[in-house]
Every structure is written in C-alpha cells, then in structure tokens.
Symmetry: D2
Subunit: 150 residues, 4 copies
C-alpha cells in the first residue's frame, strides 16, 4: 500500500465506532509506528462554560485512540489498552482543532508502549500521553478484517 | 445542605457540559471527598463492533469526571486536572451501566490526589484511575457559582 | 505452607539482591495477593539535608519491590515490571520506618495490576503506587527455585 | 556561568545525598531544562541473579533524580515530586552504565512536567519516565544555597 492508501484505509476504519464519529476524528498522517489524528473544534467539547477549554475526557479519549491507531498500522490486530497516562500541560483553548501525534516507542512480544503529543493548530503542546497496549495476539491475527481501534 | 441536597446540586451541575450530557452521567452518591457517578449503557459507547466492550476513551473520561466531582464537593472551586492514569483491568462489557466511585486520597494546599474505581452493575472492577488536580485557587473561590467539573 | 512459612520464605528470598539489603527490607505480612514490607529508618535515605525527608527514589524502589512480592506469592515466577506510577502524597519524614502494603488488584493471563500504599509508622499515607507486571511465563514456571523479585 | 560551570555545580550538588553517592551518579550534560546523568555499572544493582538486569527500583530512582536535576537548573529551588511514571521498555542489561536524559516539557506557575529517557551505553532505550514536580515556591527562593534534588 502507498502512504496515501494507508491513510485512507485507517481513516475509513477509524470512523466506524460511533464515539469516533462523535469526536469527528480524521487521519492526517499514518506510517508504521506513527499516526497523526485530528479532531475539529466543537462547542460541545467545552468542559466548563466559564473556562472555555476542551474537556479533559475528550483529550484522554483522543490520546487512547491515537495510540491504538499508531500501533494498528504495525500490528493489524486489535490491541487492548492496558493502561494510559495523560498529562495536561496547558488548557486546550476551545474553538481550535486538536492534533494528536502518536509514535510507537517500543513494541515487544507482549506489550507495546506508545507516546502521544496533543497540540492545537498553533503547535502549542496541550497534553502528552503514554499508553501501554497488549499485543498478545500478534502471532495469530484474526481471520478477516476486524475493526481494531478503540 | 443535607446529603440529598448535595447529590441534587452536584447532579444539576454535572449535567451542564454537553459532553456530560452525551455520556448521560448521573450522580448516585456524594459526600465530602466522595462521588459516585453512573453512566447508562449506550450502543454508541462500543469501541470495536467485533469486541462489544465500552470504548476506553469513554472510561477515561468518566474517571476524570468522577475525580473532579469528588473534589468539587470539598473545594467548591474549579480544579484543573494535572494528570491522570487509567488502568484497564478487564473489558467493560457493553450493555451494562458503569459506576465510578471516586475518593479523595489526599488534598493539600496545591494539589489533590483522587482514586477512582470503575465497576459494572455486577460489581466487577473494570478500571482503576488515579488523578491529580490543581487546587491552587482554593484560597480564593470565584465570585458567584461557577460550573467547575470537566 | 503456613502463613509463617510463607513470610519466612519470602523474607529469605527478598534479602538476596544487594539493593534490597541496602534498603534493609523485611517482610511483615504475606498472603496470596498481599505483601507488607518494611524498611527501617536510615540516615542515608534522606534526599535533601535541608528537608529531612526520605528520597523519592527510595520510595519508588520500595513500591516496585512490594508490588512484585505480592505477585510472587501467587505466581511463584519472575514477573518483570511493565510500568509503575508513584504518587507522593506527603513528605516521608526521615527517621521513621516505612511500611508498604501491596495488594494484587487483578491478575490475568498476561498482566497483573498491583496497588501499593506506603505509610510511616504513625499510619500516615506518604505515597501510593500502581504497578503493572508481565505474568506471561505463568504457564511455564522455571525449573528449580528462581529468585524472582526486583 | 558557562556550561562547564553549570555542569560542575550540578555535579557537586548531586553528589551530596548519600543515596546518590550509593548510585554513583554523575552529571554528563546540563543546560536550562536539560540534565543528562550517568550511573556506572555496579554488581549490586542487579535485581535478580538469574536475570542479570538492573533493578527496576534503581532505574526509577534515576528517573526521579534526573527529572529533578533538569528542573533545578531552571528553578534553583527545591521542587518536590508530585508523581512519577516509569515505563520499562526492555531489561537494562547489568554491567553497562545507564544514561538518563531529562527534558522539561512544560514549566508553569505551579507544576512542571519532565520527560526522562534512560538508555544504556549502546543507546538502547531501556526506560522512559514522566515526572511532575511542584514549583510552588518558585516566587520565593530559599535564602542561601539549598541542596535541592532528591
């Protein structure tokens, strides 16, 4: 597959789960061990009307999703999240898209570690995530094409 | 306020942000340093149609939300999330409500630590969270009633 | 084995690694899924002479060690640490022993989650840890008695 | 101060705590927001005689220490650790020095986030850490020179 094909395929898959459709997530870049996803600004993502910042839960969901996507390009199998950490470096100002760049740091026989940076469209780092996924079924990919991320 | 009043007030506040309305979150119990929240089963929370489990991002959002709610009962101020960890102990089977029980472990002058257990309606522990919040503005609560959680 | 035997066996094993000897760790209680360890007060554990508190690295090491011990009682195999989180709730005043109570929260086919509370001898919670271990070799225990913790 | 002065000063300070002397830590590089520390190979750092790898607690201590050092160059004040995460990407083979490179990701009025990579002398990434520190006293540095790290 060309890079464009990888992006298009991942973009198709990632839009399937209804929660991803709610987030409006789209694939910006994709390569082995790398996924860059984008969610658009939406008024309903604001956590606190008095502090117009994106809800931390939206950002956490984006981190998990991007990490799983980066891994899927390599593994082509579902990789359940074992644990996740999100650090909120600064408020994500509402009204701006958020871009999550996920890179696989290490992928072994049993688990994989993925780092995720979340920036706004002015390249300000708003959050940083670390996710650990189980890749236990790597040896036996499922028959047929399973939707794997989320 | 009576306990029932605390619950009703928190329940009113927590339903304000649109993302909380999407989650359908409601307050089950509330006391100083404790919040128990519930989200109903929704088909759109499923992450992967082939593995009918609740999306990890939904669970992460619930953890952050419950932690903030437990703290708000004590502080009555907005407390931005500094960081959060979520451990996914077992898949959250779709079609069941999820109950998050958040307890403030320690609340100092600057930061507060909150532990969150997420169980299904059969009391199976599906996830465990640890959240750290900034309580820096505790000394100067905002004028008027601010919506604080999220 | 009786409970006393379990404690004595674990205590023997845990003293083998030189770093554990440096820490002076001893086993206080032990049962399936539970380990309570203790390190004595030592002047050399102080991190900063001007703030006489125990070094955070000593506490982190104790967390990892206690979590591994709790798991070893169940698994009897080496369980490498995948990741660990430590929250420092309050300074651990130097000159007091520290007691780490580790409980296995969940132990599956591939990974296990362990929670660890670190208290001083006045029952003040000074730190709280969460560790994830690989239990991948559970099916095939090593021949002979392996020292497993650390 | 020249870069060499910064390194020499930090190196002097970092050797003060007895636990750091035990670790044998030395400063390799230092600049605002960056610290590179090194610990030598020592037989007593081995966790499990049957699996000759460096004890996870040693690595966790190094992560905390390096993160605090990177921050101290900027802040010149003690910055207590709020929480720390360590991911163990691969075993740290005993008999090799370990190098921790800590970079301040974000430093605000109240907290700072630091990322730490731990590699061996063959540039293999063995662990990755994320630490959050309280910088609350930044406005009021202590009188005189306090030893700050640890």
């Amino acid at each position: 597959m060309t890079d464009a094909d990888v992006i298009a395929t991942l973009d198709d898959l990632i839009r399937i789960p209804p929660f991803h459709a709610y987030l409006g997530v789209e694939v910006v870049r994709a390569a082995p061990g790398l996924a860059v996803l984008r969610i658009p600004p939406k008024e309903e993502f604001v956590g606190n009307p008095l502090v117009p910042a994106v809800h931390g839960g939206i950002i956490a969901a984006l981190v998990d999703l991007a990490g799983g996507a980066a891994l899927f390009i390599e593994t082509q199998i579902p990789t359940p999240t074992i644990d996740m950490r999100v650090d909120y470096l600064r408020p994500a100002i509402a009204g701006r898209p958020l871009i999550a760049e996920a890179r696989v740091a290490s992928s072994g026989k049993h688990v994989a570690f993925v780092d995720v940076d979340v920036k706004d469209d002015q390249d300000r780092l708003v959050a940083r995530g670390r996710c650990v996924y189980s890749v236990k079924d790597r040896a036996s990919p499922p028959p047929g094409r399973a939707y794997p991320i989320g």
